[in-house]
């Protein structure tokens, strides 16, 4: 063992320090490997949108919009938004799991661009978002979703949604850094997201709501996002709402990103 060990450890030439891009991509690769080894983590991502779409379309579709056909045109973009927003929670969850398991200690003791583990994880999340979006839209198409915006409109809608999702992820990264256990991250995030998605225009038109609730729904960022995505997919983009979402994304990232990285750096 001694000679092989000696040979294995000896290093003729030390490699140059890797670029931030390279380390970030390596962490993205790690996230993909984790999905490959623990495919169960995609289960929620796959099942939740299916259940919600089926349940709302068939249980309430007739009552809410006159027919399931009419309702799914309204519902599907909303369900898509809800699904992707819930998937962002996993960002905080996986980060917290890494920290509590000690893997992060090793990452933090490496001479690399410090944000790369976090940014790389965000890249890996793209896979989860894409899977969730593909499943939801495919199911919608089967159930009769016929977006007037066509393929281009749907893709633009998804793109806008992803931009907002990445910006929102910083919230959960901060939670993941501060909260004690991965399950606590889940719990707290649910408490935040549940009211935001249900008290919005995801499922029903706010016209029928009592005025207090309607006031909340109309300022709820999720409502703006849903209206913007709906507009894009329906082929009648609402420029004000799209700009609103883009500005919100920039503000979230500009404010929360540095805070998250600050907490991350000082974490002991």
């Amino acid at each position: 063992m001694t000679t092989t060990l000696r040979d294995a450890v000896a290093l003729a030439e030390r490699p140059a320090r890797p670029s931030p891009l390279s380390t970030t991509l390596t962490f993205g690769w790690r996230a993909l490997l984790k999905i490959k080894h623990v495919p169960e983590q995609l289960f929620d991502v796959l099942v939740t949108p299916v259940i919600f779409t089926l349940m709302f379309t068939y249980l309430f579709g007739g009552a809410l919009a006159g027919s399931t056909q009419a309702y799914i045109q309204f519902l599907l973009p909303g369900i898509l938004v809800q699904t992707i927003l819930f998937v962002t929670i996993y960002t905080g969850y996986t980060l917290n799991t890494d920290i509590s398991k000690g893997v992060f200690d090793r990452f933090r003791s490496l001479p690399i661009w410090r944000p790369s583990p976090v940014v790389g994880a965000l890249l890996g999340d793209t896979v989860r978002y894409t899977v969730a979006a593909v499943i939801t839209i495919t199911l919608g198409l089967i159930l009769g979703f016929r977006p007037d915006g066509g393929l281009g409109g749907v893709l633009l809608g998804v793109l806008l949604l992803l931009v907002f999702a990445f910006a929102l992820s910083w919230t959960f990264i901060i939670l993941g850094l501060l909260v004690r256990s991965p399950n606590a991250v889940m719990g707290v995030s649910m408490i935040v997201l549940m009211p935001l998605t249900f008290a919005s225009n995801v499922f029903v038109d706010p016209e029928t709501m009592p005025s207090g609730l309607r006031a909340f729904v109309s300022v709820n960022p999720v409502s703006h996002l849903v209206t913007a995505v709906r507009g894009l997919m329906a082929g009648s983009p609402d420029a004000t709402e799209i700009v609103w979402v883009l500005i919100a994304s920039v503000v979230l990232t500009a404010v929360l990103g540095p805070i998250a990285m600050r907490i991350y750096r000082s974490k002991s």
Binding site: L5, P15, P18, S22, T26, R30, H37, G102, L110, P111
Partner: protein, 342 residues
């Protein structure tokens, strides 16, 4: 050995504040570790070993004091320190969901190896650490010994000049422990500096050129293993009586014959006593005297003082009872590792 220092620390302090209390985890520690040497940090649970290592490895910021690793300040020059040191934490810090190969490959890429070079490095390390067959398996399926080895391999990806090992052998069987010891010896022969923490005096004794004993965040003694033992008395006698009820009487007889204070181990059968320098002859008379008193003594040994005794001598307090520090009153050398092949 050159006189340049691989690690030097002055007045390191780290206090943890919770809602009610302040834990003085590290409360003023100085270290000087020569390049190419092995330094042992010996202390019981909660002594502050891990906290010291984490500060030196740039994972924790000291509240006060300074530390330099290979001349780089751990706070101001953290990246330079990170390029030069390897760390194997007390708890496995590899990704359990990934395979052994993927873990090493990822680290090699993060250290800047090109893809092909990273693969070669990974393969070489897996073979050297006897993990080539397990490389394709998720780390969560590894045994404790295999985990320790992959963790060690992970800290050697960049061939660090300074290696921090936090309790590298706790929980390992004698064979795995010897493997880890051999690895450390090879690394040091090739010029690395190793700082290892341990709760076992014999481990420090086997590997370390110098040892610091720490307790409650303070260094209470420092020196070579033999200096530390000498401070406790050259030798000690350890015995186990057959009947628990006989222990007190056996202690009386031992005390009278040797004229030395007797330590009762946490094992209710065990007792030990320091052998004073002039008392070597008296030891010979101890067994017959006990036999005359009708006390059966199935185990009797003369040996070096145990960590228990070093501790007692240095702090005036025995180790806490729940110490896994190696069967409280048995002689360190005779515990379990001595029969393993070298």
């Amino acid at each position: 050995m050159s006189d340049s220092l691989a690690v030097e620390a002055q007045g390191l302090v780290k206090h943890f504040t919770s809602r009610k209390s302040v834990t003085k985890a590290v409360d003023g520690i100085d270290l000087s570790i020569a390049e190419g040497s092995v330094f042992g940090l010996l202390g019981p649970n909660g002594a502050g070993k891990t906290t010291v290592v984490r500060m030196l490895a740039t994972l924790l910021r000291p509240d006060a004091g300074t530390a330099r690793v290979l001349g780089h300040d751990v706070v101001r020059d953290a990246d330079a320190v990170r390029s030069a040191v390897g760390l194997t934490g007390q708890y496995a810090s590899v990704d359990e969901d990934l395979t052994g190969t993927e873990n090493l490959l990822m680290l090699a890429r993060l250290y800047g190896f090109a893809p092909a070079a990273a693969r070669r490095r990974t393969q070489g390390l897996l073979e050297a650490f006897d993990l080539a067959d397990a490389g394709a398996r998720q780390v969560k399926t590894y045994s404790g010994g295999m985990r320790r080895r992959i963790d060690l391999a992970a800290s050697l990806v960049l061939a660090p000049r300074v290696l921090f090992l936090d309790e590298p052998t706790t929980g390992l069987d004698p064979r795995s422990r010897n493997q880890v010891w051999d690895i450390v010896r090879v690394l040091v022969e090739d010029g690395a500096t190793v700082l290892l923490t341990t709760q076992y005096l014999d481990e420090a004794d086997q590997l370390a050129d110098r040892i610091a004993v720490i307790d409650h965040g303070r260094s209470i003694a420092e020196g070579t293993a033999s200096e530390l033992k000498r401070s406790v008395g050259e030798g000690a006698v350890h015995l186990r009586v057959a009947e628990v009820a006989d222990r007190v009487k056996a202690a009386e007889i031992t005390e009278r014959l040797l004229g030395a204070e007797v330590t009762l181990g946490s094992d209710p059968h065990a007792l030990s006593a320091r052998v004073p320098d002039e008392g070597t002859d008296a030891v010979a008379g101890l067994l017959p005297a006990l036999a005359d008193a009708g006390i059966a003594v199935p185990e009797f040994s003369l040996g070096q003082p145990s960590l228990d005794e070093v501790f007692l001598a240095l702090t005036g307090q025995p180790l806490p009872d729940d110490e896994p520090a190696g069967g409280t009153s048995s002689a360190p050398g005779q515990r379990e590792t001595s029969e393993a092949p070298r």
